[in-house]
Symmetry: C2
Subunit: 256 residues, 2 copies
Amino acid sequence: MARVIAIANQKGGVGKTTSTLNIGAALAERHQRTLLVDMDPQGALTASLGVSTYDLEATLYSVFANPHSLLSDLIVPVRPCLDLVPANVDLAAAELNLSNRSGREFFFKYALAPTRERYDFILIDCQPSLGLLTVNALTAADEVIIPVQCQFLSLRGMRMLLDTIEKIRVRLNPSLELTGILGTMYNTGTIHSQEVLEEARKIFGAKVFNVVIKESVRFAEAPVVHKSILEYESRHDGAAAYRRLAEVLTQDGQKE
Amino acid sequence: MARVIAIANQKGGVGKTTSTLNIGAALAERHQRTLLVDMDPQGALTASLGVSTYDLEATLYSVFANPHSLLSDLIVPVRPCLDLVPANVDLAAAELNLSNRSGREFFFKYALAPTRERYDFILIDCQPSLGLLTVNALTAADEVIIPVQCQFLSLRGMRMLLDTIEKIRVRLNPSLELTGILGTMYNTGTIHSQEVLEEARKIFGAKVFNVVIKESVRFAEAPVVHKSILEYESRHDGAAAYRRLAEVLTQDGQKE
Ligand SMILES: Nc1ncnc2c1ncn2[C@@H]1O[C@H](COP(=O)(O)OP(=O)(O)OP(=O)(O)O)[C@@H](O)[C@H]1O
Ligand SMILES: Nc1ncnc2c1ncn2[C@@H]1O[C@H](COP(=O)(O)OP(=O)(O)OP(=O)(O)O)[C@@H](O)[C@H]1O
Ligand SMILES: [Mg+2]
Ligand SMILES: [Mg+2]
């Protein structure tokens, strides 16, 4: 039975898509059967893997629009042990369609259920919002990983996200757990990143992964050629960090 | 009559809040009466100016919830020639409240109308989404400035945003014009930023401002002490760049 992990943070540009892609790639490298789900109408994850949505008959939107549509029909294999459910701008309509429907928070959970036993991990890339698509992801997931850019504005948004996660646990999904907070874009050349990371550790303690992803332009370059950081520059610090994180996750969520 | 400019991009973390704050501060420095509107429930602009929303009786949410509530009652002076309409998490409820109401796109435009003659510029900081709050901002605005991080993933989201702006111009707001595309977080040490900026200029031509904001950790530090970059480090490259941008805007939108 797959571990379903939502990668979420309503703060924009903190490395949600980059983390979903690279944690996924690192898990696949460890021969874990992994499914990535692009839950963002911008489709950054889909684009980062070079999957074009023009010639696809259906994307994630169809699961929300047509309850008989099967998630398994949408799956695109992208690497050994790594599959993708792609998204495009149509998915933005799902949010408006869902808002008046009963059980609107559970559409994705029901769509995902038949697929869970085919995978060891299912990672969901969320958009920078706490709207219905993200609520659907958090309701379907057992776990949440929160990427946080090591900057003040990113850290201050955490309170709101944790409040939302708690509400979802109480009302919609009692099994939802915070697996960890991942520091990203850590800029070794400045004090600011260090201060923010220390502050995060002070507030959230062991929930903050020991693994931190350092800032590197390689992360911006890799999506251009549709590669994960592991493929783009296998010996890079960032590749090593995501590999360590995948190792932590496969030791059944044990923290380093 | 104020020029109303929405600062928008559904891609997260591209410098929308930072640009709203610093363009605003630079306009105020030129003695232009400027109003900043925080249209993001995360309230990053409000936090960056050190305005606490706990002790405020009302925030932007109230103009969406109660049509008789006056925007002018919400205005908080923050610097000479610079006022703020603050936001907090309550604003997230506005999006759900609005979705079934007729004229839902026009709530903010009507709320803003009586205030326009008191200012020379009104800048609206949008959240990383194309939902109803951003649509309200784009319907109330005459102009749009689009910050784009000089990275591949940020540039690729532009098509979707320009399509949305065009739809709003056709259906809701015929006077909406794209004033310019602002390159942000330009990393001088790498080729990637340069390539992305060149690509943007190739596609969007003169719509891309000559002024580009370079990457600097000072931008991450300044919000911690509730200062604009102009106050935090007046001789900084970034401060000069936002001042030049304000100059371009006050020469009635003439491009450099
Ligand atoms: N460790 C890193 N160092 C430097 N750049 C990074 C790093 N991780 C990601 N990036 C780059 O930063 C930008 C933002 O990352 P990404 O798009 O993954 O964030 P996001 O949280 O998914 O954004 P959104 O909120 O728009 O969905 C991208 O251009 C990405 O290539
Ligand atoms: N030119 C710059 N160089 C380096 N860092 C910057 C620059 N401009 C902004 N930042 C920092 O990058 C982060 C993202 O910027 P900001 O929050 O303004 O983006 P945003 O588009 O408003 O994000 P969101 O999509 O979450 O609203 C912030 O921590 C900010 O301090
Ligand atoms: Mg993303
Ligand atoms: Mg912002």
